[in-house]
Structure formats: structure tokens, C-alpha cells
Symmetry: C2
Subunit: 155 residues, 2 copies
Amino acid sequence: MRITSSIEYATRLMVTLAAEHGKAPLPAERLAEIDNVPADYVSQILVKLRRAGLVTSHRGSAGGYSLSRPPREVTIEQVVRAVDGSVFEEVCERYDAGSKDCRHQGQCAISPVWTRLGEIVTRYFESVTLAAILEQKAGACGAVPAWLEKLTPGK
Amino acid sequence: MRITSSIEYATRLMVTLAAEHGKAPLPAERLAEIDNVPADYVSQILVKLRRAGLVTSHRGSAGGYSLSRPPREVTIEQVVRAVDGSVFEEVCERYDAGSKDCRHQGQCAISPVWTRLGEIVTRYFESVTLAAILEQKAGACGAVPAWLEKLTPGK
DNA sequence: CTCATTCTTGACTAAAATGGTCAGGAATGA
DNA sequence: TCATTCCTGACCATTTTAGTCAAGAATGAG
């Protein structure tokens, strides 16, 4: 399991835009320089972010991109969903496809594990805002949260 | 983000083997039938599980595979690690590659988000044993655990 | 001892996802 | 009016995923 480059890039772009929130819009090319991401690729990602309503674009000279909403109202969940379409793909749907072919049918004991994992990931992403990332520059995000400790390894 | 077929298959195989724990070993082909997974693919996955020490193989007639340890001592984390090599790939390592090229260097605010996500996923997988999956056939795993509720969406 | 059974190894392939590039066009405002 | 900037969609290379295949080596039942 991994974080794709698109997600990584999109998050970085959003954080950069968050830092500029309230100021003049940033052109895609400028964003590419700042975040060290291929310029054409940046444009592609920005299109998705715009279609999801997360950023607003302005054409013409002195144009560029800016956040549609204040950084504290934007979560990583929204960014991931904008780029990937969903946060966590439901496993059963790959096998279901409308038919009776699903290997999960009947007394399936496993699918709840994946479903729950999806919930956990989604919840976590929902809990992280751009504002929080900006504020915690030095890595306060890195600590294991208290509630996580409640999960005792090995059952 | 998604669960790959290999992971899904491996988990299913392990659960099936867990149900047979203590009885005669199950041949790979038999496992393939039971779990509805391509036979040759099953063999490949079983090899990884064996190399990780999770299952034991017996050759010859009446041979097959069996769990190396009781179901309550085997976690999903171990299964995932056996198949994928790791539970969650560290994002920075993809860019690092030993050079100064890492876009996460300096005051990177984002990488802790991915690191923490990795911890959360790993912890969750460590908390689910084969025994637990077997016992909760009807889907008790599906409920959102209490500790998860502590994560308030939107920061 | 022999032979069917079963695992072992490793190469091979097709399809999908990922990561990235490119070109032509349409708006905008200086 | 024209340089700037976004917009659209096609295109491509690489990697990963999913699955297949074949030759061979153990093993134990008979």
C-alpha cells in the first residue's frame, strides 16, 4: 500500500496555495517551480482540483490558481478524493460487478476488515486540514496520537 | 488507495487454512477451489507465505499446506508483509534515493502525515488476527470501533 | 522400488495503472 | 492586440498487477 505521486503532488500544491491564501493567484508554472514537480503534470492535477471545487483558476496575465476556501476548511480527504475519485476502493466491488460472481458473498468474514480499514483511513484524512499542516511545519503531525495507542497489537 | 488481489487472496487462503488448523494439510489445488482463486496464482502466493514462515508445506501424496502457528498468533499485518514486503511504503524513500533530491527535505510539513497514516494502518492490521476473523463470521468486524470515534472530522 | 501426488523455481505474458509529455486552442486583461 | 495563462484531450513509457506455464525435485503410499 502506498501514496501515489499524484496524491503527494496534489497535497504539496494545496499546502503551497494555502500558504499564499489571500494573496495574488499563483500560475501553474510558478507552482511547479516551488514544489519541484513537472510543470505539465501540475496542470493536470490542478484541473482535477478545480473540478472538485478546491481551487479557483484565473486566466490572462496575472492569472493563476488560488484556494477556493480558507485552509482550515480543506482536508486531505477532499484532496485525495479530488485526485483519485475515492479515498479507498471497496474491494468487493471489484469482484461483484453486478453478478453473482463475488467471492465475498454469503458468510464472508474478510470484507469487513477492508471496509473498516477504509473507514479508518478516511477518518484520518478528514482529520487533517491544510491549516493544521501549515501550522505544524516542524513535524508535530509525526507523533502517534493517543487514541491510536488503544489498539493493542496481536488482538 | 486499494487492497490488491494478492493481499485479498492471501488473506482468504490464510483464513481457510486457519479453519483447518489441526487437521490434515490442504493441497494448493484444493485451496484454489475452496477460495475460488486461480490455482497457479495460489501456488505463487503460498510460496511467499511459506518463506515468511506463516505456513508449512508438506510434499508427496496427502501433502499440502498448513498454518505454522495457531490462528490467534497470526495477524493480517504478517500476511500483508509476507506478500508485499511491507505494509505501507514510506513516501520519502521514493524521492530520497540517497541523494539531496528529496523534495521533503528541510521543513517538510507533509511527510509526517503519510508516516502517521502508515502507523495507523499497520496498527490496525496488527490488531486483527485470523482467529478473530474466524470467530466473527457474521461481520462483527464491520462496526466502527469506539476509539475511531475520537477522531473528529475537520480537525 | 515405483509412481502418482504435491510442492519448487523461475521465466513468461497481458492488461492496467502510473507518471509524465505535448500540442492546439480559448479566455483574459494589460 | 497580444503576451499570459488556463483548458482539453490525446499520447507515450514505465512499472505494477494479475495470471500462466513448464520442467523438475521431494515424498510417501502401495
